[in-house]
Each structure stands twice: as structure tokens, then as C-alpha cells.
Assembly symmetry: C3
């Protein structure tokens, strides 16, 4: 039995096989590989795309999704071993995972960071606890990484570009009024490196570098592919000759939990918006964002609504890759 | 592709064909016209009947419903074009509509007015934005009109009365401790006129007239059928000879957003309750209400529990007409 | 038509037949007895196991569950007959029950006590109102008793012990930082007596006795089986020779609604925890808890994680017995 927690746990050929299967499912969506099977979807945070696409995907493969959320479907959970549970938690994650495993054939988890202490959040405790205790495969529906989004993104790129090796991939930080989760940024960095692209991380200053765990993973994968991960704060240099521009905002890790201190820094960088002028410097690059996206803050209407933007395809591909992932896990 | 936003967009024969189909589905409920298809149901407000009947209806036609709500299934939405999204909204309705269209085959929307500014609420922005941007049919599950309720009501009337032309239909305002949405009142007025009835709108004083858009639509439809829309504040005159009494409470539009000023006016009219004494003046009229209904405030137990009351049939018919509507849209 | 409100309404052979059917369904889970049918699940309180197991169970029998909750699926309800509904309630339970009966084939209700006035809570008004007004079978998904849990527990005991007659069953109160519902305790007492066990109720002092309605029912059933219900405050006496230990915490009824007065009493009895030392006095007893359970507060990790603990089996059996119950009701 194998979980789908992070793409780093899977080889590039394994991931490519899932993407190939997703392309088959895109043209021929129905099947019965999940017939009689149920996927529990635990949402500890909001969701539109993930909730809908997993539910629809399970259904199209003959299965059924049960959506659970803390308002209604969950008791407050304890994650530590051996603890005397006389605080707020009514149930140990061990029981939640073991019991759901008796009812369901797969468990999806969405659990965003708490945004107070990155040392704590980076342990990804909820996801890892479910993976440890569940007797069925667990899928990461976004925690501190977002591997389903990665897969949908690569699928959308391959649909337009074919093989990705040697393409220049730019992950650009953009302004957003609030500090956001680094999950999609971490994921974009890793998957771009894994699939053989030359990766440029563009961010305003060094405080916006991502967690070393993900930087190192990307560097290691890039090296194995004979490519590089390059960090820059120079907008022109980053965009020049880019084949892919991926936009995302995130909070600076050194200010984690002290967000009021980060605000004046972040507020200087509204000009990191993806706009027509910057895109003109690229190699007619494809551009995308994971959605939801604040228009004219992260990307101009002009860029987003252009034919170079593959954000809707990427969003649609969530459905297809997640079906392929569920298929792979259920037969693993 | 056609949406089901308002009955005014459809001809009487088209609506009658859906009601006829609903009557067939009432005796033979199962089918596979939605096989492999998903309906997204977006509830921005509470629902018991609508949520259950759409979900059950989709299922009975071989399909599947995904229920989304702001607590869990939705990000705060932006509706304006070209805006710099640096406020509360995290996602533009365009993306929500486009992405849901990639996953689902139909989208139902419930979005009540905000009750602050009728000039704003009467634009019905959420429904219209989804209709504009979605690539799949959109169904109004109650916004500032409630066309599914209209259809269920006409179906229930036809089941008991046969053809409705020339019947006297009375829409009576009733007291309710809070100002309510005019949606069902607007809808009742329009559908009664469209189906050839002589319509009487009974309300306590002119401030309770409905929006001119709906008054005019009803007058125009009544005229086309050789009938009339008559407004009165005289209870006896309204009930006299009525064939149908439809009860509903609503807030007075001139006091929209200034509800504390309306309260002393509204409080004078508790005697607009539908009771046995008033019903005795009718032509043994059928009586109904869209539910939920405050007993002994809007209608006495005696009237509601009488055999003249068709409220449960009307509620049940929601299931049947909505199935007919989904069937019509999916094949349009 | 029969409801499943309390096991007291069903004979031991009837209940045994459902458990036997549940054991068949455990090995052969799929069927079509609910094909085309819908179960409405009304949750007025949180749920993980109940929500998931009913949803999965309906699906495995070919049916469909619609989950409704006050945040989204329900209007505030009125329960009294003949009342002028000018307070908070927007809908009478009569309409909710009648209308759901038009859409669905069964209705499950979870409605915990309000914890203010036991004389009021013990009327079990919500469940009884639905049972009174619904035109389809109603299932108790936990109110002031929890009959589905009882059935799952007996099934798990029989799987390990075979016939239960004459076994020593100990229901032990345990500490919990908050006063909890007596539902599972009431249920455990009754089902143990009904299935022929000698029942010992262990609680710290007489204020923790359960409602006389359930004490009497258990005594009457025990007597009919030639057995006894024995109350003790002596831990050693209770555990000695026990074949089954069932742990549960609950609030003392004489302090109902005055919980701050109960707290200093309850706080003296942390030592009622089920631990290895106490278990050593038993006849190698099976031990269980209905979940969620606070580890090392109600039961030590050592006991809970031992092979004598059947809590996960009991939780799993919820799925199987509920399917058997739905099957029995739909054909009744």
C-alpha cells in the first residue's frame, strides 16, 4: 500500500505514468475501478476545486466520496502519542484514521498550516499522522505542499509544450494583501525540477526563499536531470527567455507568525504582478496560477485572459490527475 | 444552451411541457438522462427542500449532485469586471463559473438579497454572473425570484383544478416578525399571470407593492391572456370568490435597509393572517405557501391542515419539476 | 411501518436477526435493497463515524444518503402543537418531517440533549416529533439513547464471545473534563440486560445513577432473562470476574444544567480510568468504548491498544448493523 503525500516519494516515470493515464481519462472519463469503494475527503480548510473535482472524479470511476469537515464531520483531534487527553481534543487522530479505514478505501486530507510557527507547521503533522495510522491510502489534498496541483500543472504544460526537458520555468512571487501558504510554491519548484526544466525562482528579497527542504529537493532533482535551480530578485533576468511563468504569492518564512512585521516589506513589491510588459520579455511563455487568484493584483486581466494562460486547463486537469492517482493507489 | 433563471425567459408552452414531464416523472421517477453527469449546487443561504429535492432528483435521473456552500465549498467572490482585487474577495466569479463548468454539467445557485440596498440586490448579480460566465446551464434555486417554486405551484394547482385560465388567484401579503425576501411573491405574481389567471395582489398599503419589473411582467402576461392584475388593500374584496389563495410575507421595498422604520407599519397588519373566516369568503379556494411557514402567524393551523391546502403537494412537486427542468436543460 | 428509535421497542429475537444479517453483510457487503432510495441524515450535532457509516452503508446497498445539518440544511424548528410561531422558529417540525417524507425513504436523526433541563431533554422531543409526523421510517442516530451503538457493541461481543448469556458486563463511569450525554450509558445498560448478561453499573456515587426509565427497563429485561442489574461504587467489586468492561463518562443528572456544582465532585474521580491494574482483576475481559475517547483520561493507552479492546471492531460494526437496520425498516 502506498500513499500520495508528496511527489518526492514517487519517481518521475511513476508520475508520468499517472499523467499519461490522466490524459486517457480526459478523453474517456468513465470507469468502474472504484466500484463499491468510498473515498473520505477531510477538509480542515475551504475548498472549491479540490472538493468538487475529487467528488466528481470518484463518481466517474464508479465510486463515492464522503466529504467531512470540522463543522459537522470531525471532532477536535489530538496528534501526540501517549498524551493525557484532558485538553480540547476529544479524539486521537489514531482512532479517526483507524475507524475511517474501516469504512472507506482511501482518505484525502486538506490541512493548511496554522501560520503561527513554521517549525511546527513544517512537520505536516495531520497529514503524516493519517499516513501513519490509516490502513488505506492517504492523499494530500494540500497541506504544506500541493502535489495534486503539481500533477495538473505538468499535465497542462505537456499538453501545450510536449516534453518539458530544458524549458525555462519561472516561479514568480507576486504581491497579495495577505501572507499565504507556501504549499503551491514548494510544489511548483519541486515538480518543475523533477520534470527536467531549468528552474528560476524569482522573489523580491532573500526572506522570500522557500523552506530549504523543498529548495534542496528541487536542486537535487534538477542536478539529476543535468539542470539548475537559479534564484534571482531581478525581474528582467527572470522573465527573459522564459517558456513558463507560474505565479504565486506566499508569506516570508522568517516573519512566520509575526506577519505585521512582514507587511511593510511585502507592500513594497506590488510591481511583481505578472503583466503584459513582463510577458513580452519571455519566449512567448505559457502562464498559469493555481486559483483562486486575485485579478489585477497577482496577474493582469490581459495576461490571465490571453491564450497563453493555461490556468483553466490546469484546474480542469485536477479532475483527471486525481482520478489517475486514485486509480494508482487503489491498485497498489 | 439555455439557463433556467426566470420563467419570464420561457414561453408558456415550454413551461407547460416541463410541468407535463414532471407529472410523468411523478409516476415514473427513475431515468438515466443524467447518467455520468454532475450538478453543482451552490448554496449561499440555508435550504432544506431545495437541497434535498435537487440532490434526490439528480440521483433518480442517474446523476450526481455536489453541494457547495460558503462554509466549506466557496471562497469570497468578486463580481465586477476589471477590478483590482485587493479587498476581501479571493476569487472572481468568472473563475468559479468557468472551473465548475469544467467539472460539472449544470450549476444551481441560491443567493438571497443582502437586504441593505434594493437597487443593488435587484441586479441579481451572483446569478447573472454565473449565467454569463458558465459554459453549462445555470438554474436559479432562489435569488430575487424563485422560478422552481413557481413551477411546483402551478403543477399542484393543475393537479387539483385542471386548466387555470380565468381562475381568481389571490397573492396575499401576511405578517411575519421579520422582513423577508420578495422572491416568492415576485414569482407567484408572474406565474399566475402567465398561466392565464386573474391576479389579485392583496397587501396592507402601497409600500408593499412589488418591484415594478415584476408587476409589469405580470400585467403584460395577464393582458396577453385577456386577464388582469388587480391590486387591493381590501381583504374582503380580495378573498371574495377566490379560487386560489397564496400566502407570503415580504418586506416593503421603500424601507429596504431601513427595516426598523418599517417595523411599526408591519406590526399593524397581523390580521392579514389567512384564517377560516377569510377562507369562507372564497370559492372554496385552494390555499398554499412555499414553506417554511410560521403557523398561526401567516396561516392558522385550521386552514393549513385542511384538505384545501396544497402546500405539501407543492413542496413534493419541487422534486418533480426540478427533474423536468434539469432534463430540459441537459438536452437543450 | 416501524421506526428504529430504541431497542426497547424491538424483541431480542428481532434484534438478533438484524445482528445476524449484519454479520452476513460484513462478509458480503453489497446489495440493491435501497436501489433508487434515499436516506435523509439530519445532524443537529457533530459526527464522524455515524455520518460516514450511514452514508457508506446506504451506498453499498444501492441507495443514497442526503446529509442535512443546521448550518446549511435546516431552518430553526418549532416542536409544540398549536403554537403561534412568532419566536425564532421558522418551520414546524411537522412540515420538515412531512416534506422530507415526500423526498426520502428513511430519515435518520441525531439530536443531543441541550444540557440545561433534564426533564425537558428526557422527552426526546425532536426524535419523537419526527417519528410522529414522518411518513417514512425514522432512525435514532443518537439522542438520549444510541441504539445503533448498542447493536454494534453486541455484535462485536458475539464475534469474540459467542452467546452472551450469563456473562458479567460492567458499565463503568469514567472521568472526562466535561459532563457528557448519558445516551451511550443508557443504551449499554439496556442492551446488556436484554441480551442476557449480568449487569454491573459502576459509578462514583449515587448521583451518577442513570435515569430511572433506563434503569427500570434494564432491570425488567435482566429479570426476564433470570439475571440481575447490580449497582456499585466499589471498583474492585465491579471489575472482579468481569467478562466485559464498557467505559463511558456522563454528567450526573441531579446537577443537570448546574454543571459548575458537579465539577468538584467529578474532579475527585479521575481514578475511575480503565487501566491495566483494574483489568487484571477481570476474567480476561473484553473492553470497549463508543469513540471518540480521550486516551489516558478514560482508558490508558495500554488497555486501549491491547488485543482485549474491541473498540475498532465495534466502530466498524456500526456500518454493518446500520445496513441491517435500514434493510429491516425498508421491508417493514
Amino acid at each position: 500500500m502506498k500513499h500520495f503525500l508528496n511527489t518526492a516519494d514517487w519517481s518521475r516515470p511513476e508520475l508520468q505514468a499517472m499523467i499519461d493515464e490522466a490524459r486517457r481519462l480526459k478523453t474517456s472519463p468513465y470507469g468502474d475501478v472504484l466500484k463499491g469503494k468510498t473515498v473520505a475527503l477531510l477538509f480542515l480548510n475551504n475548498s472549491l476545486r479540490t472538493r468538487t473535482s475529487f467528488d466528481v472524479g470518484a463518481q466517474q470511476l464508479g465510486g463515492h466520496a464522503v466529504v467531512l469537515s470540522p463543522s459537522g464531520g470531525m471532532w477536535p483531534l489530538e496528534f501526540e502519542d501517549g498524551v493525557v487527553m484532558d485538553g480540547d481534543a476529544e479524539e486521537h487522530v489514531k482512532e479517526a484514521a483507524k475507524v475511517l479505514s474501516r469504512y472507506c478505501d482511501m482518505i484525502g486530507i486538506r490541512a493548511f498550516p496554522k501560520f503561527v510557527d513554521w517549525e511546527e507547521d513544517r512537520k505536516d503533522k495531520i497529514l503524516n499522522a493519517f499516513a501513519q495510522y490509516a490502513d488505506v491510502p492517504v492523499i494530500n489534498m494540500e497541506t504544506i505542499t500541493h502535489p495534486c496541483q503539481e500533477m495538473a500543472h505538468v499535465m497542462a504544460l505537456q499538453e501545450r509544450l510536449g516534453p518539458l526537458d530544458g524549458k525555462k520555468f519561472v516561479l514568480t512571487w507576486t504581491y497579495h494583501p495577505k501572507p499565504l501558504n507556501t504549499a503551491v510554491a514548494n510544489s511548483a519548484l519541486m515538480i518543475a525540477a523533477k520534470f527536467g526544466m531549468d528552474v528560476t525562482l524569482l522573489c523580491p528579497q532573500s526572506e522570500y526563499l522557500l523552506d530549504m527542504r523543498y529548495m534542496s529537493q528541487a536542486e537535487q532533482d534538477a542536478k539529476a536531470n543535468g539542470r539548475h535551480v537559479h534564484v534571482t530578485h531581478d525581474i528582467d533576468e527572470a522573465y527573459k527567455g522564459a517558456d513558463v511563468v507560474y505565479a504565486k504569492s506566499w508569506g516570508a518564512l522568517p516573519f512566520f507568525g509575526k506577519w505585521e512585521e512582514e507587511k511593510p516589506i511585502r507592500d513594497q513589491y506590488r510591481h511583481f504582478i505578472v503583466d503584459e510588459e513582463k510577458m513580452a520579455k519571455t519566449n512567448n511563455a505559457l502562464v498559469s496560477h493555481c486559483l483562486p487568484m486575485r485579478r489585477n493584483v497577482k496577474m493582469t486581466d490581459g495576461v490571465f485572459d490571453s491564450t497563453n494562460c493555461i490556468a483553466y486547463d490546469e484546474a480542469e486537469n485536477r479532475l483527471h490527475v486525481q482520478k489517475a492517482i486514485m486509480k494508482a493507489l487503489v491498485s497498489s
